[in-house]
Symmetry: C2
Subunit: 415 residues, 2 copies
């Protein structure tokens, strides 16, 4: 573990201190849509009514009231479970980390998409994991690629320990997995006995298109799926509460690990989430945040159209929800180099390479968070981004490299 460097994004954040920088780097939801009054009310009540219990340890799997509220909340999404299928976590990040700690021995293999959530990569790296990873497609995971890879591994006496996916508005790509592919993932899981870890932080944030059933609900409690949820994107990240759902025997083992990791989740923070689920007008709240974020996405996409003519060779995803989109630039552009130029140009993004496992690095992508900056910042930020990319291209052109108008997939040697 001495070489472990954690979230690679973290090291980039030190460059973002300058307030003149417009940042598309963060994963922050906007503060404008936080229900501050609800938090205040919930805390006040806990301190009044539960003043004896708030200062004490809580049960490792979670407070009964919160677990009951979660069950009702998930019912609306066609997930039908009992308290023994839930463990409250101290963040979705912990939910992922505990999955890794339970399932992975050193050098064990995880099946996942390229790119995938960097926080999951960071957790799994602590278990010294390896990957069977395939480029994500416009409608989600390359399930056929996964199956071919699994067959290949089995032929060599190995098998992935689980399939990790973010089916709804994936962080970082913004891509949503189609119903067809969700069913295909489930068939794959059943056929080879490999559980699916379905990470669902953004599920409520759909701005257009049809609601797609979760893989957990499609599995109908057959025990093939572990669901990872967080209150971070629907309530707020600052509360640090999430939950995992799974077969009860898995939840029991999760709880052993949670106990030895942090013992329990604070009651005050859980009570805020219970109040959020039980007393807040969730439909109105989700409509408000959806309207708010989808407008930001619209501004961002319009600004991209305006500033990136086709001949620049820049492409981007058009997510149906979530907080992120994904930009692919011509292959000769290294977005980590570009990041440092962008900082000088007062705009920031996340170089996409942090979203790939170590053996699968790609250097010509970037993750964009569109939910945090204001409308004006979005418009100006995209303009700056375009300027920086043009500058990078001009610099390379001088050096006689990468002059092709559309540089996709062209090896440097051919230029």
């Amino acid at each position: 573990m001495r070489g472990f460097e954690g979230y690679k994004i973290g090291k980039l954040f030190k460059y973002l201190q300058d307030p003149a920088i417009i940042s598309f780097a963060g994963g922050l939801p906007s503060s404008d849509v936080f229900p501050g009054d609800l938090i205040r009310k919930a805390v006040e009540r806990s301190l009044t009514q539960d003043s004896d219990r708030v200062p004490q340890y809580t049960p490792i799997p979670g407070e009964e009231e919160l677990m009951a509220a979660i069950i009702d909340y998930l019912n609306k999404d066609n997930i039908y479970i009992e308290p023994r299928n839930i463990m409250v976590t101290t963040s979705g990040q912990q939910g992922i980390d505990i999955v890794g700690r339970l399932f992975l021995e050193p050098k064990d293999i995880i099946t996942t998409d390229l790119p995938t959530f960097e926080g999951a990569l960071a957790s799994f790296e602590m278990e010294d994991s390896e990957y069977l990873a395939k480029d994500i497609e416009v409608d989600g995971s390359d399930v056929k690629g996964f199956e071919a890879g699994i067959e290949d591994l089995i032929a060599r006496g190995r098998k992935p320990k689980f399939i990790y996916v973010v089916p709804d508005f994936q962080n970082p790509s913004g891509i949503t997995t189609s119903l067809e592919k969700r069913l295909a993932l489930l068939s794959l899981s059943t056929k080879y006995g490999i559980p699916i870890v379905e990470d669902s932080p953004y599920r409520e944030l759909r701005y257009r298109g049809e609601h797609t059933p979760s893989i957990y609900s499609l599995d109908k409690n057959q025990g093939n799926v572990i669901g990872i949820f967080t209150f971070s994107k629907i309530l707020c990240p600052g509360i640090r509460v999430g939950f995992n759902i799974a077969p009860s025997e898995v939840i029991e083992k999760f709880s052993f690990i949670k106990g030895a990791n942090i013992l329990c989740t604070p009651k005050l923070n859980q009570d805020i989430c219970t109040a959020f689920l039980r007393e807040y007008d969730l439909d109105a709240h989700f409509k408000r945040i959806r309207d708010y974020y989808s407008e930001k996405l619209k501004f961002f996409l319009e600004a991209m159209e305006e500033n990136f003519p086709v001949d620049m060779g820049v492409e981007w995803t058009k997510p149906e929800g979530g907080l992120f989109l994904w930009i692919t630039v011509p292959e000769y552009i290294n977005t980590l180099e570009l990041f440092h130029m962008a900082i000088e140009g007062k705009v920031a993004f996340v170089p996409g390479e942090v979203c790939y496992p170590k053996d699968y690095l790609k250097h010509n992508t970037m993750r964009i968070n569109f939910s945090y900056p204001t409308k004006d910042e979005i418009i100006e930020g995209v303009r700056r981004l375009s300027t920086v990319i043009r500058k990078y291209q001009a610099k390379k052109r001088k050096k006689g490299k990468g002059v092709s108008p559309r540089g996709f997939n062209m090896p440097l040697a051919s230029l």
Copy 2:
């Protein structure tokens, strides 16, 4: 990790549901000494003054204000550090777990006392650790035993990764390490290049005797010691905040792990701790909790004298502080068996075997928490404990075993 069963104490707690049971099992501080008003005030202020930041992610190492308050707090205990030497944790348990994750590869060796803190054993077990462990002595660690063991390991090409100790009123034994032995541990650490992990949850809870300098302060920032602290025993466990102190390069690596584990600690919970350190009359608060707990300890020790005549062969420690003491019963008594009889007799304790690494199990000890029950419960609980032990002895006597009045160290075969 599939076989991992976490905190073994946890599984015993399900037997404690019956409210008629008087429990000496918990590690709970008493609710009577929690500063509820302070918590209320701190939360109200955070939600008012920092309403933008409370809902957001916080820096992984901790909030600046809390780190500054911790520095001033530690100054009074002759520890002089800078913010780069601190990482705020989401509990002391997390602080320990992160140490294990950073330092331990599978089969790595930890040097520690017998018995030792069960939560540390649970965390380190997740890293598949092994132990060089020696019986704790009345004045703390068997440092000579440690050195002989280390020499022996070095001769076989191995070396412990760190020395884990709880020098002040150790959980579970209640034993305090003398100044002389603290210095000897430090010499050992320097001589062999093995860091000391000093876990200090109970340090403020001294009821009698002289204040002994922490090993961290004795090291004078030479980088041999990692300090683990928690607000659980001085403020309250329900807040889930602690901190690790260490050389800055170690803190940096801790932060990488914390990020991939839970990302960050909630601001609201940190703000409560900042208010506690900055605004509360700590001297008066610590005096109040010391008076409160030391009285409980006195009741407990008096009840023991009364109910356990010397001929029962039962011995116990007389701690100078903390929340626990340690009872040793004759060797033929298995305290896990006794635990189940005790539940029937409506009294509970922690069977001491959970406080030993797997290769060092002992079955004739028990951990007692004296801080949570009331005075009357203590008196009645000790009476019940005595009855249960007599009953166990009578049962064994019938079977022709363990009839020696003082059964210490007498092999069963000789009885």
